[in-house]
Each structure stands twice: as C-alpha cells, then as structure tokens.
C-alpha cells in the first residue's frame, strides 16, 4: 500500500508501523524506546507524528500503516511536541557530556540539538539519582543519565532472557536496577551498552579510553565460536594518531561493537564477542626459530623446505582459525604433499557458556566449515601420529609429545611455553593484520578487514606457503647456489 509522510509517497507493507516504513525509506523520525529487535514500548513519546483526520498526535512506533494515510512530521504541532518531550527528558538529565563517554554517539545529545528548545524552562535544581554505579564487572550504570526508555530491560527480558534488569519504583522515582542478583551473569549483557541511547550504560573496559570521534570502526568477524558474528573493531583514525600519544595508544584496539548482520547475528553479540579486542594483548611470537636458536625468516624457510623435501609421510595439522583464503593458499601450494588433519584451535574454557539457543555455539572456532569443505575433518589419533615422519603444525598447539619423535614445523601467531622446541618455528600474522573470510557453522561467508599492518617480523601464512612451494619446485642447482 501507499502512504505519504510529509511530501513523500512511500510504499509500505501491511502490519508495519509508520516508523518502520519511514526508517526503511531513510526518513528520519526520532525515536528512543523503539528498537527493531525488541517489543514496542511507546513510552518515550519523541516519535509523535500528526495523522490527517486524527486530533491527537500519534506515536509512529505503534501506528499501523493504512492505505492513503497522510502523516506529517514538519507541522508546528509536531515540532512543539518534540521540543516538549526533549524538555522533559533534559529536565533532570545531568549535563555530563564533558565527562561522558557517550558524547559524539549519543542519541539524546543529537536529538537535543536537533529538536530541543532553545533553553530550558526550569529554574529548579535537578533531581539526583545513583550515579556511576558498577552494575557488573563489565557495565557502569548512571541512573541520572537514564531516560527510562526500557530498551535494556526489554533486552534482558525478551532476548537474553536473564531478566537481569528491571525498572523499580513508581513515577519520577523510577530507576533501572539489576534486580535479579542471584541470576548468573548475563552472557549477552554488553548489548545493553549499544542499545542505551544515552550514557547511562557504559562499558567499563572502554571507560575514559578515548573520545569516540577519534576512532573509526573496521568491519571484522568474531573468532570466538562458529557463529562468526559480525563485529566492528575500533581503532584510532589515521589523522588522529598523534606522536605524543605513543605507539601503544595509536595502534591499539579500543573496543568492539556489534555489527548488524541480518544473516548471522542480527544486531546482537555475546560478551565474548565484545571482548575480541583483548586478543591484542595475547603475547605474540616475533622471532623465527630453529630449535632453540633464533634465525632469520630465510633460514627458517630453507630449513622447512628441506624437512618437507626429505619427508616421506608428512602430515599437516590445519587450524580452524585459518581464513578461507589461507586455506585455499595452502591447498593450492602444499596441500597435495601432506596428509591433512583438522584441528580445533580453541575449546570451551571452564565457566564459558558452551552452547545456547541464541548465538553461542559449542565449536569455539570461526572456520571449521572452511576446513571441512576443503580437507574433510580427519582428527589425528595416536596411531596416526606414529605413521608420520614430519608434522607441519599450523596454529596454536599444545605440547608436541602427542606427535611422537617426528620433526615439527610450527607456524603460529602466539607465544607459548612447550615441552620442547619445534624444529622450525615461523611467527604468523593474526586475523587483525590481514583481510579474509570465514564460513560459519551454516556455511555463511563473512568478511573481515585488516585493522593494522603486520609487523615485518611476522609472516602471512599464505606467503610462507607460496615461498615453500616455490623453493620445493626449484631445481636443486639453483637452490645450492643461493
């Protein structure tokens, strides 16, 4: 059907609200409490619009589209209502912008500038509520900043279903509180941070780390499980990397936010996803090694090439953290030389949710599907281990004693103490240092983009495979000459 909003005629679907139809067509109708993933609250009242033939203003979020409906948002009546609602919201809202992380991405701030009155009518002191309260180890709650839109409450009631949050007390005394204190921590709690249209709910990890306008998001994929949710990793914008800040702050990941992906995670993410940036602080390996002796990359590759050439039954243990592009590179170069076994780099840790009926999957690796698609899934048994005379281990691995006495070529990103040294060790880049794709448990392909350049000290796995293949293919004389 068709309806008009101001001077635009748009098509709408039966059952949609005017707000939904408007947003779908890129028409801005301000809204706080409405969220496409949550039930309708209709309580903030900022979305009030004028409908021809109706005397009262109507909330667009709860107004079903009807054929030939004429909606107006530019009439003075609507402008006045928006001003009045903003006045009411700002009445007791603390002017914390100067010290509040939300500044720059705060819907309340944006709407106050766009729709609020030129000045407040109030001459009374603002009412106070509990401020800067540790709602949980991850989330800070400031009840003064809260506009009681109930998005966070509806989230824990309808989506994560932990009922962690509620609104207690009546009238203007009402406040959001964590009221089910005996419940387990909500493994999706951090979603309320992004949902909150003000600085009432903030990430404690990100607290005071940076002003958001110095940062930019980079599209990525969470590697926490085989759901492979879309995420945004936030780094400092190029023009805001200032020498005086120091290398660490210029090249760190500040935070993770959920990236909307209708195919995979919708607008949501689990807390493990919100912690993806902490992977940056895992200790890296930065030096190629031959046994216990540091070496150059060239030396390491040469030695690896020799080991591969000599081996009669080489095995490769391929990581489910590898990207599709790296797996393709391996298959195209060295893949035929090796008997390929598949491996899960990560397993569920004690205390971690294994699987639920929402986002979290038991397989804690992002690309098991990609491995299985190319190589099948053959797990290495003790008997298998005896049959091979060389292991190319790609990715994180525990001790090597499970691999018998055969030599080990180990390509890995992260440092780890082991029972013995690999014969050859080559440090690799991480997911943050290259682009690529993973396939999630349903085979859906999801892209991640490079966030930082890799250090010259580490290698991209694909380059290593290409070099090894080139050296293995080169005639004997040329090799001896170099």
């Amino acid at each position: 059907m068709e309806l008009t909003i101001d001077d635009r005629t748009i098509e709408a679907n039966r059952g949609e609200s005017v707000l939904q139809a408007a947003l779908r067509h890129g028409i801005e109708i301000p809204h706080f409490c409405y969220h496409p993933g949550l039930s309708i609250a209709g309580s903030c009242r900022i979305c009030l619009v004028k409908v021809e033939g109706v005397s009262k203003l109507m909330p667009a979020c709860n107004l079903s589209v009807a054929p030939n409906m004429k909606v107006s948002t530019v009439v003075p009546e609507v402008g006045r209502a928006r001003e009045q609602v903003m006045q009411f919201l700002m009445l007791n809202h603390p002017v914390d912008c100067g010290i509040c992380d939300k500044a720059g991405e705060c819907r309340l701030q944006d709407y106050e500038f766009a729709y609020g009155p030129p000045r407040s009518r109030s001459t009374d002191a603002k009412h106070h509520k509990r401020k800067l309260h540790d709602l949980s180890p991850r989330i800070q709650l400031d009840n003064e900043r809260c506009i009681l839109c109930s998005r966070c409450v509806r989230f824990t009631r309808e989506i994560s279903k932990t009922n962690m949050l509620g609104i207690v007390e009546r009238g203007a005394h009402a406040f959001v509180d964590r009221i089910d204190r005996e419940s387990d921590d909500d493994p999706y709690s951090d979603n309320v941070i992004g949902l909150c249209p003000t600085g009432a709910l903030l990430s404690r990890d990100f607290l005071y780390q940076s002003r958001v306008w110095f940062l930019e998001p980079v599209r990525s994929v969470c590697t926490g499980c085989s759901r492979g949710c879309s995420i945004d990793l936030w780094r400092r914008k190029k023009e805001w990397r200032i020498r005086s800040l120091g290398e660490e702050r210029n090249s760190m990941l500040y935070r993770v936010t959920a990236r909307e992906n209708p195919e995979i995670n919708g607008p949501w993410l689990c807390n493990k996803g919100f912690d993806q940036h902490k992977l940056m602080s895992r200790e890296r390996t930065l030096t190629p090694m031959l046994g216990d002796a540091p070496a150059s990359v060239e030396q390491a590759i040469a030695r690896a090439r020799d080991l591969i050439a000599q081996a009669r039954h080489p095995a490769a243990l391929v990581s489910a953290l590898a990207s599709n592009e790296e797996l393709d590179a391996f298959k195209a170069t060295l893949g035929t030389r090796f008997r390929v076994y598949a491996r899960e780099d990560s397993v569920a840790q004690p205390g971690e949710v294994v699987e639920d009926d929402f986002l979290i999957k038991a397989d804690k690796n992002p690309n098991s599907f990609g491995v299985r698609e190319r190589f099948g899934w053959r797990t290495l048994t003790a008997a298998d281990a005896q049959a091979h005379d060389l292991f190319l281990v790609w990715g994180d691995w525990g001790d090597y004693d499970g691999l018998g006495r055969a030599p080990v070529i180990h390509l890995a990103s992260f440092a780890r103490q082991r029972d013995r040294h690999a014969d050859v060790h080559i440090p690799l880049s991480t997911t943050f240092e290259r682009s690529g794709t993973f396939c999630n448990f349903e085979g859906k392909r999801n892209r991640f983009e490079k966030v930082f350049d890799k250090s010259p000290l580490v290698q991209h796995a694909a380059d290593v495979f290409a070099q090894l293949e080139a050296e293995l293919a080169a005639p004997q004389e040329l090799r001896e000459a170099s």
């Binding site: 009411f88 009546r170 009238g171």
Partner: protein
C-alpha cells in the same frame, strides 16, 4: 461508620430504590426487591445478543469517567473467540468519587447480577472484580454477596439451572490510582506493575492474557439489571437524550450535606449544590466547582449558573462529566494550595512509564510546592501554563491529561492568585482550605 446522606429514595430509582438497613444488602433483601429476576428472564428467554441490544438501546455510557457507549464497547468483542474475559473496575480512586463504594456496600448483589448479565452477553466464562486494596467493608460485602450467590446457584456452573456458567474472582489492588485505567488494570491483573498499555490493540481485541476483554466500571455494570428488566428504551427515557440514565452523583467539599445523590442526567448543577446538598458551609458564596472528579477542569461560580449534569453541557462549558463526583469550593479558599494538593497526588500516582507524565507531574508539583512554601519565582506561573501543554495529548494514557487539566484550568481561571503567591511569597487567601 456513618452512611453518606441519601436523599430521595424512589422505587423507580436504579440504585437508591430502598431504605438502607443493616441487612438490605443481603440476597434475601435483594430478591425481595425483585433482584435476579432480570438474570432469570435473560437466561430463560433471551439470547446473549438480546442483552447487548438492550444495553445499546439504553444509551448507557461508561460511568468510570470515560463516558464511552457501553453497547459499542461490547460490540467490539468477537464473541466467537474461544475465550472472552470481563473485568469489573472497582478500583475507585478518582478524588471526589465514592459511588462505587456505595454500590459495593449496599447493593453488591445488583453488581453481581450486572456482572452476570454482562458475562452472558459477552460469552465470558470468568469475570474479575478488581477492587482497590484499601477497601474494607466494600470487600467484605462483595465477598459475602458472592458466597450467598454461589450457595444459591447464581454463580458458577449451570446458573439458575441454565447452560450458562460464570465464575467471579475478586482481586485486590495494591494502592495505585493508575490501575483504574483499563489497560493498567489488565496488566496489574496479570501480576505485573500497573503500566498502561499502548492502544491499539484495544482490550476488546487483545486484553487479559491476550484474550478479548471488556473492562466496565462498577456503576456501569450495576445499571444492567434495571435495563434488562425494564428494557433499554425505558432507560433511554431517563435523563437526557444524549447521555441517558441515572447517575450516583457525589458531592463533597464545602457543602452542608455532602454525600451521594441519585439523579437523572441533565439535573441542574446549582440545584444539586444549593438544594440537595444544602448549600455552602457557613452560607459563604460559592467560588468554584470541580464537576466530575479532580481530573476535570475547574469551573468558576459564574460558569455553573445554567449548567446541567450531563456531558454536552459540561463540555460546552470547557469541562467534563467525568466520574460524576462534584467538589465544591467556597469563597476564601486558596486555589494555589488546593492545586498543590492535586499536583502532589498526580505526581504520587504517575506510573513512571512515559516521559511527559513522569517528568511533568513531578515538575509541576515541585513548582507548586515551592510556591506554597513561599519560595515562588518570576517564571513559575508561566511555567505552570506551559508544562501542562507539553503533557496534554502526548502521553501513553489519560493520567497525563488528568494531571494537566487541573493545572491548566486552575491557573487560567484563578491566575491572579497564582501571580500573587509567586510574587509576594504568600497566599492571597491566608493559606485557607477549610471553609
């Protein structure tokens, strides 16, 4: 406990058709007056739609304050739905209103019969009486009446030997004025806070536990037996054409004989105040009248000269029929202090869900509390004019409007008192509230 003054017992009255005694509320007494004959007639000779038709023909409108045609409300319900619920709103909380209490105390069986007739018309298997938690005697009388009715086969399975079954559940409220709003009542009845719901969907389509639900006021339902017994046309002949019937008008404040008076709609307001209620205390001049419960705009003495107690007349005067509870104010009363009594009330009762009511009711009361405390400021009166404009029509339920209208009307009609108090930091009328 003393009874409110009751004037004019007439046999043809809908409610006050008998002299109240210590047992006039019992089943035997009610039956002796013809009680439950309408129910018997309906179950023996009528179809549910016949009952609805009579109620529609009667022109009966809701007596809780919204004044909506009852037959229309019932007609919105899809009677083929597997489940339909009836809720009786006994959460009487509108200041100035005390009529439902009288019905519960003195004619509880009339209410029970009305509920059963409505349930019959609506195909409701269960009816719920949501009674305000503070009520003591009304609750005991209602429970007593229901026990008598159950014992007499008037409630439960096979009522009066027919196929009609209906159980009535009494559910106490917890001290919240907003629970008198029908969707808030439903949420409360579902075990939650009494937050009103967005409409649409309306309760008649999706209400209690998602089923079609009708919420009717006590007085509304208590009219139904009379209508079924004598016919809708007979009811429509009472009172005014536009809003027929009798109402239990309450009158309180500065009158000599406050209490309840059953009168036909269209009754002259001045007559009720100066004759029936015996005029103003101490013979003082009248200053103002709030005509239908505290949420209706206040009228000055001059404005009520020719007013009659019916919706069109009051609407034309810029106010409303509301719950029919008149509050009478004598000359010499400080309207600023009186308004603050109301803003304090609405602030206390705002559920907190939607922005304009939650913030606006607290703000208006903050300002008025400051003014009556002698700390008024220059901007206060202008703000008291502007803030209600930001609330009216913008809220999720009518409580916002109910809170805004008194402030708007008091400041409009008695602006000089407010200006004076704010500027001079004291009352023009010596802080007086009593006559």
């Amino acid at each position: 406990m003393s009874d409110p003054a009751v004037e004019g017992v007439h046999a043809e009255n809908v409610f006050m058709s008998f002299a109240v005694t210590s047992d006039s509320h019992t089943l035997d007494a009610y039956r002796a007056r013809g009680g439950y004959e309408a129910l018997g007639k309906a179950l023996r000779t009528l179809q549910p739609e016949d009952v609805e038709r009579e109620v529609t023909a009667s022109g009966l409108r809701g007596r809780g304050g919204a004044n909506f045609p009852v037959g229309s409300k019932w007609s919105f319900v899809n009677k083929q739905s597997p489940v339909v619920h009836l809720c009786c709103n006994a959460d009487e909380g509108e200041p100035g209103t005390f009529k439902d209490r009288w019905i519960l105390e003195h004619v509880p069986h009339q209410l029970v019969e009305g509920i059963l007739l409505a349930a019959f018309a609506l195909h409701a298997r269960h009816a719920f009486v949501y009674i305000r938690g503070e009520f003591d005697l009304p609750l005991r009388r209602l429970r007593g009446a229901l026990q008598e009715a159950r014992d007499a086969g008037l409630v439960g399975e096979g009522i009066l030997g027919s196929a009609f079954a209906c159980d009535i559940v009494v559910h106490r409220g917890g001290g919240a004025y907003v629970c008198g709003e029908e969707s808030s009542l439903i949420n409360s009845l579902e075990g939650k806070k009494g937050y009103p719901r967005n409409k649409p969907p309306f309760p008649a389509v999706k209400g209690f536990y998602g089923a079609p639900t009708v919420v009717n006021n006590v007085e509304t339902l208590a009219n139904v037996p009379w209508i079924v017994a004598r016919g809708g046309a007979a009811y429509a002949a009472l009172g005014t054409k536009a809003n027929p019937g009798h109402r239990l008008f309450g009158i309180s404040g500065h009158v000599n004989r406050p209490g309840l008076y059953e009168r036909p709609t269209g009754y002259p307001m001045k007559k009720l105040i100066f004759e029936d209620a015996g005029g103003i205390l101490g013979g003082k001049p009248l200053k103002a009248v709030i005509p239908g419960g505290s949420s209706t705009p206040v009228l000055t003495a001059g404005e009520i000269e020719i007013l009659t107690l019916d919706a069109p007349s009051l609407q034309q005067a810029g106010s409303m029929m509301g719950s029919g509870g008149l509050i009478v104010i004598a000359e010499g009363t400080c309207m600023v202090r009186l308004l603050q009594v109301l803003t304090r009330f609405y602030r206390h009762e705002s559920c907190g869900q939607c922005t304009p009511c939650r913030e606006g009711t607290a703000w208006m009361d903050d300002i008025l509390a400051r003014v009556v405390d002698g700390r008024g400021e220059a901007a206060d009166v202008a703000n008291l004019r502007a803030i209600p404009e930001g609330i009216l029509g913008n809220t999720l339920c009518a409580l916002g409007d109910a809170a805004a209208m008194p402030v708007l009307s008091f400041v409009k009609k008695f602006g000089n008192e407010f200006e004076y108090f704010a500027a001079n930091r004291r009352s023009l009328n010596g802080d007086r509230l009593e006559a």
